[in-house]
């Protein structure tokens, strides 16, 4: 049960202001989700053959520099990194599988929040305002961003249970609603080799998409399958490397509103999260239809 917000810039001139435009949107959804908040921002892309990881360690004092140095030496890769609160972003001239294998072997206490060429996922327990402050959201740049504020229903209030959930390379998902068949589905997905960190229903939706995409589905096909296989109530927003997608379940009880101008497409659970966007007064504003996909992507 939560608030969702997303902002996709059509006008590249606004990219330097992405964080600044997005921060009030996230904070406006505090009442819908006072337990935890997070966002996935896309930008600062690494080149071909490189991988960008968002890594987290529970201890603020963790020696990221040491880990970076060891990785460079052990794997013989080029590596660039920076720290943001408990999280570090590593850009490495290597592939996902090798990096995952290395980290699980050499630094098992490090949690991988996202993997891709563009995505960074940042999330924490607490009020959206604190989380925006912790990560200095307003200073961030990028092409698009999706965020989430959480009112936990059944699973625990933890960083791991916060959204967005990574669903694969440069993909993530945020969810408002409550799934009713996620427990059985989680067991099936585990047998397919999908790993889960929590008892959270939304993580199962994310894991489901990861699995479908791994089977070779396009995003559109994966979402079509999700409509068949997920039971319960949901509004999803899915971040992709080039944009984002929005989908509601066939009953469509959980709210969603979209707004589009020449400069951007914005999505929120409630209109009040959109009021600070420039030119919103004249934007085209509408609600997504049930069981319908809305995908905005710029050409790769």
């Amino acid at each position: 049960m939560c608030g969702i917000v997303g902002l996709y810039l059509k006008n590249p001139a606004l990219e330097s202001r992405l964080g600044e435009l997005f921060e009030p949107m996230l904070i406006a959804m505090t009442d819908r989700g006072p337990d935890s908040a997070g966002f996935a921002i896309y930008g600062d892309e690494v080149g071909e053959g490189w991988t960008k990881l968002t890594l987290r360690h529970p201890q603020a004092s963790f020696d990221w520099a040491g880990l970076a140095a060891r990785m460079q030496a052990d794997l013989g890769v080029e590596l660039d990194w920076f720290q943001n609160a408990n999280v570090s972003v590593f850009k490495v001239s290597s592939d996902e599988a090798s990096l995952r294998a290395y980290l699980s072997e050499q630094a098992p206490s490090v949690l991988i929040l996202s993997v891709g060429q563009s995505i960074e996922i940042l999330k924490e327990v607490g009020l959206p305002e604190q989380i925006a402050e912790t990560f200095q959201l307003r200073k961030m740049k990028g092409s698009h961003i999706i965020g989430h504020t959480r009112m936990a229903t059944e699973s625990a209030v933890t960083m791991e249970g916060s959204h967005p959930f990574s669903t694969g390379m440069d993909l993530c998902l945020v969810h408002n609603g409550s799934l009713s068949n996620h427990n059985r589905l989680r067991e099936n997905l585990k047998r397919e080799g999908i790993r889960f960190e929590t008892e959270n229903d939304s993580e199962v939706a994310a894991g489901y998409l990861t699995w479908r995409l791994r089977q070779g589905d396009s995003l559109q096909t994966a979402l079509e399958h999700a409509l068949q296989d997920l039971d319960g109530f949901f509004t999803f927003t899915i971040g992709t490397r080039n944009g984002f997608a929005v989908m509601r379940d066939p009953i469509a009880c959980k709210p969603a509103v979209l707004a589009e101008t020449e400069d951007y497409v914005a999505m929120a659970s409630e209109y009040q999260a959109l009021t600070t966007l420039p030119g919103i007064e004249n934007a085209k504003v509408w609600e997504p239809e049930p069981a319908t996909f809305y995908i905005w992507e710029r050409d790769a």
Partner: protein
């Protein structure tokens, strides 16, 4: 064939296909519809009778029975409301609709509650002037159907109870069959006379706790933040539901266990959905304690409460008050033996009557028939209910004093032990004579 004959002839009844089961299969085969009935769960469940109090002797000192004070008053809705509800006794009357019950029965409930210094509650179908007039403290239910809902009555209420579910049917909507939709009921509900009424199971304009938070604010805005807002849930995933009700902004949470009654619901729902009241209370209290809200957001518990021992046990487990429905109707005369002959004419018997949906109640309570309704004198009924409420309170006080408490709310789980492993596990108190609480290690 009498039981005696069965015994001597060596006939053996199947435990799986017993007489009730066979009768139900035959009934289903005849009619093609599930059994709809009133009353609550009839199956045996772990209940308050499986708990015992540890009265004081040497290590604790009891209070003197009739002289030393034992407070029974309780204040509900202290979190946000400008005017919390103050009750003399912690036993309230649960929501029962005009429609399911006759106007006289509703009036009797209001009268009885007012004499005893407690609150009564409207139901699905709106507030009647009789009921408002006779109830000193009246809680107005806000239900998915919104039958009879209007802002004037909302502002007349002393508290608002947003109903998400009922212990007899968590996840299900209400029902009122056509037989009971008289002119007055139809008019109050804006429905044609004589048709089956289907009440929704979800509220029409919000879904989920995030939207509920906004709905609660709307109700507060309409009533200028004067009165408490209760949230009522049927006991199922109680630990989570209570946490979410607190997050959504409730002043008071009402948890109705599966023994709670109903006017008309599918039998399969009544018997197979929900958890016993006994199991729900510790879950609710744990949720409140973890949030630092126990006693700040008050907890009312209902579902199968019959006597002062039940009341005291609920409070010892952490409730601030209880609510009674079925027991209050029995106090008014529901299922009274003096109508046994008439009960038999409609295929039931005194003590077994549960076809509230048919509206033929010989006791004049669950009916809209003017002739039958006349049988219940609201003044006399109110007096009986008040008597019964006083007995519940006196009994609870007696037990509290015996445990050395000068306030009912000072009873605690440590004053209780359990007789069975099941009740020990559910109530989270030790099995009598041991220190063992099943499920909580050693």
């Amino acid at each position: 064939m009498s039981n005696e004959t069965n015994w001597t002839s060596g006939l053996r009844e199947s435990a799986t296909f017993d007489r009730n089961t066979m009768a139900e299969i035959r009934r289903a085969a005849e009619t093609g519809i599930y059994d709809i009935r009133g009353f609550g769960a009839k199956r045996k469940l772990p209940h308050f009778d499986d708990l015992l109090f540890l009265g004081a002797s040497m290590s604790r000192y009891p209070l003197e029975g009739y002289r030393e004070k034992c407070n029974t008053s309780v204040t509900l809705g202290t979190r946000f409301a400008k005017k919390p509800v103050v009750l003399d006794i912690p036993v309230t009357i649960a929501g029962m609709s005009f429609g399911a019950l006759s106007a006289n029965a509703k009036e009797a409930l209001g009268r009885g509650a007012s004499i005893a210094g407690t609150s009564t509650t409207t139901g699905d179908g709106g507030m009647t002037p009789e009921e408002r007039g006779q109830s000193k403290t009246l809680v107005y239910q806000y239900l998915p159907s919104r039958y009879g809902m209007n802002p004037d009555d909302l502002r007349k209420a002393d508290a608002i109870e947003v109903v998400l579910g009922q212990g007899a049917k968590p996840g299900g909507g209400g029902m009122l069959l056509g037989q009971k939709i008289t002119d007055r009921v139809a008019q109050m509900r804006n429905l044609p006379k004589g048709i089956d009424q289907r009440s929704a199971c979800r509220h029409p304009d919000w879904t989920g706790p995030d939207d509920l938070a906004i709905k609660i604010l709307e109700l507060r805005e309409i009533t200028d933040w004067q009165v408490p807002i209760y949230i009522k849930v049927g006991a199922t995933r109680t630990y989570y539901d209570v946490k979410l009700a607190v997050k959504a902004g409730a002043d008071v949470i009402v948890v109705d266990g599966m023994q709670g009654g109903t006017a008309a619901t599918q039998d399969v729902f009544i018997e197979h959905v929900g958890i016993p009241t006994l199991a729900a209370i510790p879950q609710a209290v744990q949720a409140l304690q973890e949030m630092g809200m126990h006693r700040k957001v008050q907890l009312i518990v209902s579902g199968g409460i019959r006597n002062g021992a039940d009341v005291a046990k609920c409070m010892a487990l952490g409730a601030d008050a209880v609510a009674i429905g079925t027991a209050a109707l029995i106090a008014l005369g529901c299922n009274h033996p003096k109508y046994d002959e008439e009960f038999r004419k409609i295929g039931s018997a005194a003590g077994f009557y549960d076809d509230y949906q048919e509206g033929k109640d010989p006791a004049g309570i669950s009916t809209q028939d003017p002739e039958l309704s006349q049988r219940l004198d609201p003044v006399e009924g109110g007096r009986k209910l008040a008597n019964y409420l006083r007995v519940l309170t006196l009994e609870a006080q007696t037990l509290a004093r015996a445990c050395g408490k000068n306030d009912l709310r000072n009873l605690e789980p440590e004053d209780l032990v359990a007789l069975t492993v099941e009740s020990a596990a559910m109530a989270r108190v030790p099995l009598a004579g041991t220190q063992w609480i099943p499920g909580q290690g050693f």
